[in-house]
């Protein structure tokens, strides 16, 4: 699928998408949180994800799957822009940021596979895919994106070498967000002086995954590090057309936009919960919503969330996932996750000590949104990248 003219998604279609996501949250996700743990009963997660595939929320490169076209980051984004994916992610994140992140990671990786163009995707077509992009603690800086073989500031260490029948992949990818049990990895590597991108079945010889271990938040989404040791892949496992730079830009744009949308959803959930709590809790001779200090916390948060949402939705109609959009997507992630993290910590404050306990789910929201801020491009990294991208564009 190539970029082309796009049409606006109709208001009706958009509403039915949103409704689908709301129903999924109510019927499938809410029961996860009926137990005692704020992260939910994660053992029930696989069946919920299965439902997301069945009802077409989860995208997949497999054409027969319901979400192939209209799921989150499904093929239709090239026609219709990011709007529906951003909305769906936001709505799901109101209930659980981790599940939203799972569907998002699946969507981004699927979308890359669907870019293979005329040549068919290798058989069997992957269903659950995970994106291996990052090495170390941060995604590549612009210098590395443009020249992966040079230390500007750090060259890419995961490499592919040509063999008689295909390629040999070596190296270590870190912080791979995905659904549980992915069958295929989409792996960015350095090939000579450029980028290449491969589909690597997760059970191939030489591929091993380590779980990232205990972490702050987004625990419903799986996170691991993947090692590739002399992994042989056939020629048709390569999904770029000679240079995967465009795919890299696409992955980063979608990733950042989606994470920003998830942050907005988490913060919306927090603000809604705070409104309800503030109307019920009685202190200082009144419902706490009557105290100006509490009003200020909630209203300030809602204003921040509104601002973050506007920033995220400024990407709604965008179907350009090239380097041209990279700076904008990075700015969106930078601004939205920061605004939303502030909003969540302020809304948590309205709960007093109860906000710190697992019972009300506020501490989970704060953990989740804080991870979004640092994951796959921290504010420090994004600021450098945004400056460099703008400078590069000017040149």
């Amino acid at each position: 699928m190539k970029n082309g003219t796009y049409m606006h998604i109709s208001a009706e279609d958009m509403e039915s998408y949103r409704d689908l996501a709301r129903q999924f949250c109510k019927k499938s996700l809410q029961p996860l949180f009926e137990g005692e743990y704020s992260d939910g009963n994660l053992s029930l997660l696989p069946e919920k994800i299965e439902t997301a595939f069945k009802i077409g929320l989860a995208a997949s490169p497999e054409p027969s799957m319901p979400g192939n076209c209209y799921g989150i980051w499904g093929a239709s984004v090239d026609e219709e822009g990011m709007k529906s994916s951003l909305h769906l992610l936001s709505i799901i994140a109101e209930t659980c940021g981790g599940v939203a992140m799972s569907l998002h990671a699946q969507g981004v990786a699927s979308n890359l596979v669907m870019q293979k163009g005329a040549e068919p995707v290798p058989v069997p077509v992957p269903v659950r895919v995970g994106l291996c992009l990052q090495e170390g603690f941060t995604p590549p800086y612009l210098g590395t994106i443009l020249t992966p073989d040079r230390d500007v500031p750090a060259r890419v260490m995961v490499t592919a070498d040509k063999t008689a029948n295909g390629y040999l992949i070596n190296g270590h990818k870190s912080f791979v967000y995905s659904m549980h049990d992915v069958d295929t990895y989409v792996v960015f590597v350095r090939f000579g002086e450029t980028w290449a991108c491969f589909l690597v079945p997760s059970r191939s010889a030489g591929v091993s995954r380590n779980d990232a271990g205990v972490r702050t938040g987004l625990r419903a989404c799986s996170l691991g590090h993947v090692d590739f040791r002399n992994v042989e892949v056939p020629r048709d496992a390569r999904i770029d057309d000679g240079n995967a730079l465009a795919l890299m830009a696409r992955a980063l744009c979608m990733n950042w936009a989606g994470m920003a949308a998830i942050a907005v959803g988490i913060a919306r959930g927090a603000a809604a919960a705070a409104r309800i709590y503030a109307a019920q809790r009685y202190q200082g001779g009144a419902q706490i919503e009557e105290h100006p200090a509490v009003k200020a916390l909630i209203a300030g948060s809602e204003a921040s969330i509104g601002a973050a949402e506007s920033v995220v939705l400024s990407l709604s109609d965008c179907n350009d996932f090239s380097l041209r959009t990279l700076g904008k997507a990075a700015s969106v992630k930078l601004a939205a996750t920061d605004l939303c993290a502030r909003a969540v910590t302020d809304t948590l404050q309205t709960f007093g000590g109860y906000g710190y306990m697992e019972d009300f789910g506020m501490e989970k929201r704060l953990r989740d949104v804080t991870v979004l801020k640092s994951a796959a491009g921290s504010p420090l990294y994004l600021k450098q990248l945004i400056f460099d991208v703008e400078k590069e564009a000017a040149i």
Binding site: V214, G285, T345, G352, G353, L380
Partner: protein
């Protein structure tokens, strides 16, 4: 630039470095310029009175030897570690008896007379640098003791402090204390004057002259160390009266009708419990009344004045812990051929974090540098330090990118720990109101219209 030019430039930079450039000054000029290369920790320690310096050094050593190795597991599995050894070690070294001077306490005498809480504050920072939960485990105990001190009763002080000192310092079997004011229906209300007047309190004490004491009935919640404590200072209104009758009672483990309810599952500071305490017609003998009858409200408000700078110091420790672990990460992690710490954007951020921590420390020490702690300075120190700590922890996580939120790196733990300091001992909103209240007839006076 070729390598010769590079070398020339490097030499020039070296010459311009303040420590070398100063050599061009004359003797008096050199004496007036301070270019000693010393860590901020050392600089700060040298500004402290001698006795406090000693406690700071001891606390640093103790924190690294005892708290650091236990911290990750105690945070992950708070129910599976045994707190007794660390409580005992801290007691033997005198950390649990810093609220008084010899012969019934271990605080250094002269500095104690100039600042009752300074020694606990410096110790609190060191402990919390390694682990918020274990620091709270060790320090919440002081919170339980302050009401005894503030009772102003020499009899109470001697009766409780003396055996406690012997058990702690000499036998290494300390009693653990807790402080209980919060009730499910009254959190901020027991920390703030106007709220207090309207508080919905259930814990009540009924006088039973025939029994020679009081029957305590009610419930407290969120009590730090509540499940571990041997003794708890509990505040209750007298039957038929309001909060103005609040009286502090010393309730001991094993008293009939006294039990521990649920222990909360919290976001951080997990190595210490926050528990519900249930008083089901507990008989408390008269001798366990702390201070005068009906002095509980004043006692409570002053306990908060004494404890808030220490909470601030603990917050500062959380921020410092995150900072130190992040700094270590920047020293050992490479981005391309260079170490992270060699990048300017990282240097600017690290320096900013250190400035914030330094400012918070100055504020805390300033608030502790008088014999009596007072409401506005204590509230200001707590608010500044807790907001600073949370900010610094966030910065540390951001510098470390995806490593920042991984538990084994220890920074996210500090981040979770620090968030609590903006809530307990009065939310930061309530603390701001406390500062305002204190100066209503001075700085914030309102002219009658």
């Amino acid at each position: 630039m070729n390598s010769d030019a590079k070398n020339v430039l490097r030499e020039r930079i070296e010459l311009l470095h303040p420590k070398n450039a100063v050599k061009n000054m004359n003797l008096i000029g050199r004496m007036l310029a301070d270019n000693r290369e010393m860590s901020v920790w050392e600089h700060d320690t040298k500004t402290l009175p001698l006795g406090v310096r000693r406690w700071r050094r001891r606390a640093l050593k103790f924190a690294r030897e005892y708290i650091r190795p236990l911290a990750p597991e105690a945070d992950l599995h708070p129910h599976d570690y045994d707190p007794k050894p660390i409580l005992s070690a801290a007691a033997r070294k005198g950390f649990q008896t810093l609220l008084f001077t010899p012969p019934i306490g271990s605080a250094s005498t002269l500095p104690f007379l100039r600042g009752t809480t300074l020694q606990i504050a410096v110790v609190g920072e060191e402990f919390a640098t390694e682990c918020g939960g274990l620091a709270l485990l060790l320090l919440a105990h002081n919170l339980g003791i302050v009401p005894l001190l503030l009772s102003g009763s020499i009899r109470t002080i001697i009766r409780h402090f003396f055996p406690f000192y012997i058990k702690s310092r000499i036998l290494g079997r300390p009693d653990c204390m807790a402080f209980a004011i919060t009730e499910p229906g009254a959190g901020s209300d027991v920390e703030e004057t106007e709220g207090g007047a309207m508080a919905n309190l259930v814990t009540t004490a009924k006088y039973m002259p025939a029994m020679g004491g009081y029957i305590l009935h009610g419930q407290k919640c969120f009590i730090s160390d509540g499940a571990k404590a041997d003794k708890v200072t509990v505040y209750a209104k007298l039957e038929g009266e309001g909060i103005e009758s609040w009286t502090c009672f010393l309730v001991e483990k094993g008293m009939k009708g006294f039990s521990v309810g649920r222990s909360e599952r919290k976001m951080g500071q997990r190595a210490s419990d926050a528990s519900e305490l249930i008083f089901d017609n507990v008989f408390v003998p008269k001798k366990n009344v702390v201070g005068k009858l009906r002095s509980g409200w004043a006692n409570n408000r002053n306990v908060l004045n004494y404890s808030r700078p220490v909470v601030g110091a603990m917050a500062l420790g959380h921020g410092r812990g995150a900072f130190e672990r992040c700094l270590e990460f920047c020293r050992r992690t490479k981005l391309g051929p260079k170490k992270l710490i060699e990048y300017q954007e990282i240097q600017v951020e690290l320096a900013d974090m250190m400035i914030s921590l330094w400012a918070a420390r100055s504020m805390i020490w300033q608030s502790c540098r008088q014999f009596r702690c007072y409401q506005s300075a204590s509230a200001a120190a707590k608010v500044t330090a807790s907001d600073t700590a949370f900010k610094v922890c966030n910065q540390a996580m951001e510098i470390m990118g995806d490593h920042g939120y991984i538990h084994s790196n220890g920074v996210e733990r500090a981040w979770r720990d620090s968030r609590l300091t903006q809530i307990y001992e009065g939310t930061n909103q309530i603390n701001r109101l406390a500062l305002f209240e204190h100066h209503m007839s001075s700085d914030f006076y309102i002219e009658e219209s």
